[in-house]
Symmetry: C2
């Protein structure tokens, strides 16, 4: 079974939702048979690379919250993150473009390190004092190295704005096709969707339902006689 | 859409079937949205690592063919391979354990090089004079390097017989659960199965059918009110 998770590094509900999903997955009896793939989704796709501002400024400017409302929201998110065992800096975080990080996540996927890098980027964005947006590519190269990726290769990816850009855009198009308007968005075997950082029990229910309803395999066969295949008793003899 | 292909490096129908499938896939209008994953299947799982014999000897000894029958079969396979543009040495090939190669394919998968390595192993096994079985690990290290893998890391994988062994076994268990008794065995979105090296048109039909019948996504939702998610208009405000 395969679970695809659309998310953005800048999305606090994605950070919390990933932990809730992983709690459900760890307790799911068939978790060894579940493959998790992370997909890209930018909440703020129009933002330029170097355009960085404090989260609270962005919330008040863009969504018309008062500073007190914005800070109260951050405090609540901090409590919900703590309930999942996650660190969360409720004051002083930055907001910026996540496009380069999504490109880097696709590079990491090619090297089997996508989940590691995403967790490291979340932690860097939500829990660490250093900004993941304002220190430039070298900060991301450091984080890539932490995820076990080659630093020179990561540096080359970050230096070339077209590297893996199509993969990011393809994920975003697919999210739209699947009807996702926000993140996190979880898709199980392309059959069931779960929207938002639902409680672990909802993920347990979704995993159980999707697992139980896996359809039996339907064989598409060209002819009734033996197919051109090899088995434990030898290979079909070719009709010359 | 995802296509999983169970195969063995020692299986001539897998070599031919991969080329036929790829012909169909290249002409499939949605090929960019198709992900191909290779899965392990050993035709001769009981064979020890160093136990190598000529293919024709194995065919006569194990399946009771006459040498002339075995050679005629190889000649026919050579013609069918040539029809797909593949080289095939009809005389002098070896047979042996493919377990180490399957372990190496799982290592390659982690580094995004699985398809490249499988094609290289097929060519080494079916088309090259040097035996892929009797020269030991260093021959496989060379082939891994050709696929773009790190030679030291490949050497470490091959030196440790437990490395990726569970992944090979898990693929084989899954093949049995899906009802595959021989290879190649193609599974589309875990919904349709195609057994054997069918003509390209059968793969085209299977791809078309599986694509057309992708189910619409069913949303599993916990509650009617807004989920804890972030969208272009901001994030849901947490209920403290």
């Amino acid at each position: 079974m395969r679970v695809e998770i659309w998310s953005d590094i800048a999305c606090p509900w994605c950070y919390v939702g990933k932990a809730r999903f992983e709690k459900a997955l760890a307790a799911f009896p068939h978790h060894d048979a579940v493959e998790v793939v992370h997909r890209s989704f930018e909440l703020d796709p129009g933002r330029a690379e170097g355009d960085v501002e404090p989260v609270v400024t962005m919330l008040t400017r863009k969504y018309g919250m008062s500073p007190a409302q914005a800070e109260a929201g951050e405090d609540n998110l901090g409590r919900l993150a703590a309930a999942e065992g996650l660190d969360y800096r409720t004051r002083g975080r930055d907001h910026g473009s996540t496009f380069a990080m999504h490109r880097l996540l696709h590079f990491a996927k090619e090297h089997g390190r996508q989940d590691e890098l995403l967790q490291i980027l979340y932690r860097a964005n939500f829990a660490e004092e250093r900004s993941v947006y304002s220190e430039g590519a070298e900060r991301l190269v450091e984080l890539a190295a932490e995820a076990g990726l080659d630093t020179d290769a990561a540096r080359r990816v970050l230096a070339d704005p077209t590297a893996y850009a199509d993969d990011v855009r393809a994920d975003e198009r697919e999210a739209a096709q699947l009807g996702a308007t926000g993140v996190p968005f979880f898709v199980l075997d392309r059959k069931y969707g779960v929207s938002g950082a639902q409680p672990a029990e909802v993920f347990t229910q979704a995993l159980t339902q999707a697992w139980g309803e896996r359809p039996p395999l339907r064989l598409i066969e060209q002819r009734q006689d033996e197919a051109d295949a090899c088995g434990p008793d030898g290979c079909a003899v070719p009709r010359g």
